[in-house]
Amino acid sequence: MPIISRGFKGRRRDDAPRDRVPPGQYVTDDFPVLSAGPTPHTPLDQWDFTIVGEVDERRRWTWDELRALPSETITVDISCVTKWTKLDTVWEGVSVDTLLDGVETSAEYLTVFCDGGYTTNLPLADVTGGQAWIAFAYDGEPLEPEHGGPARLLVPHLYFWKSAKWVRGLRLTATDELGFWESNGYHNYGDPWKEQRYWGD
């Protein structure tokens, strides 16, 4: 049994609505920054977003082209595997449905790839049907580099390591290929409501 530190509560809000906070999570008003590496600073005129892999034809958007696509405002709760949950975060982004529109593929999985080499894997079914966005704004402001700007994936129904920062594209794959964390202990799927944090959870 660990030693209980008398009076220690931590930085937590205890007025959080329980039906919105996944098991083992604590609500925070901060937006903690976690990073697996240096912050990339790709100039927007050299930035692009591509869909590659098992597709009929590679798709590519420049920054201006991506920003010209229809975008939406998304208000969602996000949960990090390090146990913080942030309620009612407001993002603006392009739905992944919009990007996949007209793409012919037999793939069932995808690998999200990013500046700096980070990857994460997801079933294709988890980024379609209004479940995932390429987000470029947070709280009405351009997404800051420390939070993944210029753009990050937003897939709020899974632990936030799946919402890859500095996203540059999707590689559609026939088989599930483990990403940066999924290959080393973190759960392959990462559903916060099932507390799928680590291998075997």
């Binding site: 660990p2 530190s5 008398r6 009076g7 220690f8 509560k9 931590g10 930085r11 903690p32």
Partner: protein
């Protein structure tokens, strides 16, 4: 794995607060009695783990401020207002309270009594803490290596250990203490009054420097290390200890 001690690996110790005293408005030192403490080297740190009554845990690293000696370990902790562990350690914790501690950790950023030439210690803010352990160890050991401590703080009120450091600088034992106050200087201030930059380092760093240890917030450490390399000091003779933004 809890309780399954494996020889040689570090386990969590129980630490009991023996005493707490303020160093500045934002900084306190906690003296801890640690059961089974194996001793440490000046410059090492510990991981502190706090557990709430519902099982919630938070963990942070803190530098040891005291030289090696006995079962008592002193940690000097700066309060980070929106932090999680430091407000507890600097606010709630008092004598008799207990928490868990893992360490000592880190044999890289430690006092070396014989590096072959002069040593420069550069601390920014509470980055002075592991350097203070080194200064105290040096004094306790009567080490003779010429040592300079360059300590950057916002104001004189923010200087941790100021009385003790004032005494150390005047003992004629080869230890020199240099302050720079970056935001606010007392009216009669004769020391430096700006950030540690290349020019300041060129005035302070001995040319035959054989080891530099730099500790502070990441931007401070990177600026100092870059400036030292720019002045021609060998990168492999500069050891750094960065404080992260997850501090607190």
């Amino acid at each position: 794995m809890e309780g399954a001690a494996v020889l040689g690996r570090l386990n969590w110790h129980v630490a009991e607060v023996a005493d707490v005293w303020p160093e500045t408005d934002r900084v306190k030192t906690l003296a801890l009695d640690v059961e089974g403490w194996p001793g440490h080297r000046a410059g090492q740190h510990v991981d502190v783990r706090l557990t709430a009554d519902d099982g919630y845990q938070a963990q942070r690293s803190y530098s040891i401020a005291s030289p090696d000696g006995g079962p008592r370990v002193e940690l000097t902790v700066e309060r980070i207002d929106d932090g999680e562990v430091s407000p507890y350690l600097t606010g709630d914790a008092h004598a008799g309270d207990r928490f868990e501690l893992r360490g000592p950790v880190g044999g890289y950023f430690v006092w070396d009594p014989d590096p072959g030439g002069p040593v420069l210690l550069v601390g920014g803010g509470s980055g002075v803490v592991p350097l203070m352990a080194m200064v105290r160890q040096r004094t306790a050991n009567h080490d003779e290596v010429p040592t300079k401590l360059l300590y950057s703080a916002r104001s004189w009120e923010d200087v941790i250990y100021r009385d003790e450091l004032g005494r150390y600088g005047k003992r004629g034992d080869g230890l020199e203490v240099v302050f720079t106050l970056t935001r606010e200087q007392p009216p009669d201030w004769t020391g430096f009054g700006r950030r540690v930059d290349r020019e300041l380092l060129s005035q302070v760093a001995p040319p035959d420097l054989s080891l530099t240890l730099v500790c502070g917030p990441t931007p401070f450490v990177e600026a100092v290390a870059e400036a030292l390399v720019g002045l021609g000091h060998e990168p492999s003779r500069i050891k750094t200890e960065r404080f992260g933004p997850t501090g607190g």
